[in-house]
Symmetry: none
Subunit: 291 residues, 2 copies
DNA sequence: ATTCATCCGTGCATTATTGCACAGCTAGTT
DNA sequence: AACTAGCTGTGCAATAATGCACGGATGAAT
């Protein structure tokens, strides 16, 4: 008993021109599509498609109903979006993805308040650096540093990420005649801040993780440019009073465009925005300790 | 895999307010409806109906999609009508319903030409007096005498049915001093034509079938008002030159509104109209033999 | 309090649908 | 002519959907 779905199968074949193509679009076996179209035609005693070697071609009868099938599809899409985005219950799984440091240092202490407030939300944290798992709906909310998020993610920039040059007690103790710097692995050419402020610097280390970079500075191996909030929350790191060009990066709280009406996603997003906005001074470098 | 049909089940429950009512409308078991709604809600993780003792009540989410579901239904109805009415093949079963005399005396001799012209149409004749079998799609075409056909049947009035008063040789031979008339069983009060033309008449017989009435006149039992075509095709019946009020009845060729695009129904209807229009003079009483 | 009508939910058997695997056809390429 | 890719159709087994029958819940009537 599949009356309206018959039309869905019809539309797929009409659109794709082949049984095989329609099967791919519908996510079923091609034999299923073949049988459904044949049954539909038999039920109405009408020929919808001419069977050609290259596939199926619409008859006049098929062309007459095609636009109505498209209109049906349009409305079922609206229905799907309404249903999908309107889970009003504050319960169920919810996954936040962010760098571990963002999780650990910026929001973890507040997440317990969130869990107390919404005990039926099963919170998950996914520590990763990319946005693919948000796009693929493997996570619901992402906290990211980025100049500009992709279009299919929506959200709010809660702060500008400020960066500065940091040193440590351990480095100062070394009283080096020639400054030693720590760079990113992909910085093969000396970055501007080194050229401008330490033209005779020696590149002592290249790393690919900001916490590694911070640890290296803390250990006295060299000086480095760090995000202020990553540095300022750690005793023993001191900001040097040197001008550095702005990073143009923002800290964003992002969700997938389709989920913005889901209640638990919304309350969690709002909670994270509130939490992070309270730390705006830290993130924007106004809490630095200077040497 | 019933995506669009999920919506169909939703709409039925939303409209009817109960699982049982929706089941009747959909033509399935109530348990099927119950499962389909539950599966639909689970698939979208949304509550569409509050379960009450008296039935199912739409939630806000359900109300949000209800109008889209109605729009889908409207379009699927259009599609159904397009498909159902567009059977372009001149083959298959086709049933004509009419009074036996209409069949036998007016069209039977021509039907053989129809069958020769369309050998793949399986013609059936259903002799009955009412229109219910046409409404119920038990017949495809009806030939009927009626003042006005019901709205769901469409067709053409091929002739006005004229009636007149008839006598016979056998009756004239009786040379009665007092005229004897034959009436319909439900004519308890003398009809106008008797009051006006035979005020001293004796009601000799009441019948409920026009062929019985004609046979009684032929046999000399009395005079009666007969449809002209029923009388004029029979030797031995003579029309009296007496004014009689018009019957206001037409002879109609009728089909169900939904079928008017089906090719074989159309060609048969056209054939019957052509056949009956050729006998318009007979039906409208212009072929009478007068005493 | 009891009875009745109506409604919904579910275990199990039945039926329908679907996928898999295979074969055949056609058009294009070599 | 032979081969290949892409397509469709179908027998059979597996899976999903449905109907039947039953039981429980609720509200109305008595």
């Amino acid at each position: 008993m599949n009356d309206w779905d018959d039309l869905r199968y019809f539309l797929a074949v009409a659109r794709k021109g082949t049984i095989s193509g329609a099967a791919v679009e519908l996510g079923v076996n091609h034999s299923t599509v073949s049988r459904r179209i044949n049954a539909y035609e038999k039920k109405h005693d009408v020929r919808l498609f001419e069977r050609l070697a290259q596939g199926y071609e619409m008859t006049q009868a098929a062309e007459n109903i095609y636009r109505y099938a498209l209109e049906v599809e349009e409305r079922t899409h609206i229905v799907e979006r309404e249903l999908f985005g309107r889970d009003t219950r504050l319960q169920g799984r919810l996954c936040i993805t962010a760098y571990h440091s963002t999780v650990n240092d910026l929001v973890m202490s507040e997440l317990s308040r969130f869990c107390e407030r919404y005990p039926e939300i099963d919170l998950e944290l996914s520590v990763t650096g990319d946005l693919r798992n948000l796009s693929a709906r493997e996570a619901d909310i992402a906290i990211r540093g980025t100049p500009q998020p992709p279009d299919h993610l929506v959200g709010k920039k809660v702060a500008d990420i400020e960066g500065a040059i940091y040193t440590s007690d351990n480095y100062q103790k070394r009283q080096l005649r020639r400054p030693e710097v720590i760079l990113w692995r992909d910085e093969m050419v000396l970055p501007t801040w080194v050229v401008e402020h330490f033209p005779d610097a020696r590149v002592v280390l290249r790393v690919d993780d900001v916490s590694t970079m911070r640890a290296a500075v803390l250990g006295g191996m060299g000086i480095a440019r760090l995000p202020c909030w990553r540095a300022d929350i750690h005793p023993g790191l001191f900001r040097l009073r040197l001008d550095v060009a702005s990073m143009d990066w923002g800290l964003w709280v992002l969700i997938h465009a389709d989920l913005r009406s889901t209640a638990r996603v919304r309350v969690c997003r709002d909670f994270l925005i509130e939490t992070l906005e309270k730390k705006r001074d830290l993130i924007e470098g106004r809490c630095s300790t200077y040497l």
